[in-house]
């Protein structure tokens, strides 16, 4: 229950931050993708199942809140969380840079995937070059934010785990 509350709080916070603060702080015209960052961090911390659930919940929340085609972000982030969580299991000796690299790569491919799905549904209104540019920039942006966000989330996740409440 604690974890559900934690996850909800984190997702709502991220959503609000995404639509308020970070809609104004541009990096060469691109915004960070906080939900991607969140999903990847949880996937690294908690494994593929948690990653998938976080991605699904966060994606759905974002889809319903933003006036976007619904479900695409949820699909993207579910797969992203699962994929990153799985990849993380194969990394034998993690270094402090590992989350940054995973966040950067995950965000890049996640945004690209989102673009491809949008395109297949006929919802992609921008060109491919723009998509590539946004994917790259938001990857860089998320990577910059990782050293700030990742420790916070780790502490929160560990705090909620120490109570030994049953997992998902």
């Amino acid at each position: 229950m604690r974890r559900v509350l934690l996850l909800s709080a984190v997702i709502v916070t991220a959503l609000i931050l995404q639509t308020t603060v970070f809609s104004e702080i541009n990096l060469l015209g691109a915004k960070p993708e906080l939900m991607y960052l969140l999903t990847i961090c949880f996937a690294i911390l908690e494994g593929p199942a948690s990653g998938a659930i976080t991605g699904f919940a966060g994606g759905m929340a974002q889809d319903f809140l933003l006036d976007a085609p619904k479900g695409i972000t949820a699909l993207t982030l579910t797969l992203l969380g699962y994929a990153v969580g799985t990849v993380r299991q194969f990394i034998v000796s993690p270094s402090p840079v590992t989350p940054v690299v995973l966040v950067a790569g995950g965000t890049f491919f996640g945004v690209l995937f989102y673009g491809v799905v949008s395109f297949l549904l006929g919802q992609l209104s921008t060109g491919w070059l723009y998509l590539l540019r946004v994917a790259l920039l938001s990857a860089v942006y998320n990577a910059i934010l990782t050293p700030l966000v990742y420790p916070l989330l780790r502490r929160a996740a560990e705090g909620s785990r120490s109570r030994r409440v049953a997992g998902w």
């Binding site: 959503l15 308020t20 104004e24 702080i25 199942a49 319903f64 809140l65 479900g71 579910t78």
Partner: protein
């Protein structure tokens, strides 16, 4: 075994979530903007938008700060451009102001020229310098012999009589003001029709002599230039009926045969900028 089953359940979970996502996408795609999902989205937006507003109010300055930080070079450039513009516009503004003042002067001079009559030929001139010495009350104007200037030509401003030309250069001339101690002007009191001779007293008011003691002179009476001749004393250089000034003081002297009258000049000689030179006049009185 446990690990494997856990991995399988994870995979199952992911498949289920993906399936839900796909169903959502499909429903949303088919229903469009009127479907239940869209209205759910609107409801969610209604709930969260007040929150967003609050946070936005708090964080807007912070966000502003950061975006300003990122845009600093372009802002700096913008500032430089704007400064240049301000300078240019200020210059333009002051030019416009002086142009306007000049226009007002010229209009006044034009009115003066009309009042002198059609036979009088005049030329406008710009005052370029004030007198150089404390004992000479002169100005310099930007017209000289090449413009047809000659000695003794009368000079008039829109407010009244200024003086006459005493020295002519090629492109500039010196004008002796009527307040110069060496200047004498034949004047006439406007109401009492008495004539007299006005002599300069420097920075003090003009002194009017040769006024008969029997004349009734009231303060603030206007004094204008007289015609050409005052008996055998002097012959006037100036065209008639140009305002010289107003009577400032009348001193009755019982024993004397003339009155002591001082006249305040109508022209403010410290702020002259445009004057009219009378080149020639046909005939006379």
């Amino acid at each position: 075994m446990a690990v494997r089953s856990r991995a399988r359940s994870t995979r199952l979970l992911v498949v289920a979530l993906v399936a839900v996502s796909l169903v959502t996408i499909t429903i949303d795609y088919r229903e469009g903007d009127d479907g239940p999902l869209a209205s759910m989205g609107n409801a969610a937006l209604t709930v969260i938008s007040p929150l967003q507003e609050v946070v936005s109010k708090v964080t807007h300055p912070i966000g502003n700060f950061f975006s300003t930080l990122f845009r600093l070079p372009s802002i700096r450039h913008e500032r430089d451009v704007l400064r240049e513009r301000v300078d240019a516009l200020e210059t333009q503004l002051s030019e416009t102001r002086s142009d306007q003042a000049r226009l007002a002067d010229l209009e006044a001079l034009f009115g003066l020229r009309e009042s002198l009559g059609p036979k009088v030929q005049t030329m406008a001139a710009q005052v370029i310098a004030n007198g150089v010495s404390n004992f000479e009350w002169t100005i310099e104007i930007d017209k000289g012999s090449s413009d047809g200037m000659a000695r003794d030509m009368p000079v008039i401003a829109s407010s009244g009589l200024v003086g006459h030309v005493v020295q002519v250069g090629a492109n500039s001339s010196r004008v002796q003001l009527i307040i110069d101690p060496d200047s004498f002007v034949a004047g006439r009191l406007d109401v009492s029709r008495q004539t007299g001779l006005l002599s300069g007293e420097g920075n003090q008011d003009l002194q009017m002599s040769l006024v008969e003691s029997t004349a009734e002179v009231s303060p603030d009476e206007r004094v204008v230039t007289a015609g050409y001749r005052i008996r055998d004393v002097a012959e006037s250089l100036y065209p008639p009926n140009v305002l010289i000034g107003t009577v400032s003081r009348v001193l009755e002297q019982d024993a004397a045969t003339e009155k002591f009258v001082t006249v305040r000049p109508a022209v403010d000689f410290s702020s002259l900028s445009l004057v009219l030179v009378v080149l020639s006049r046909d005939g006379g009185e």
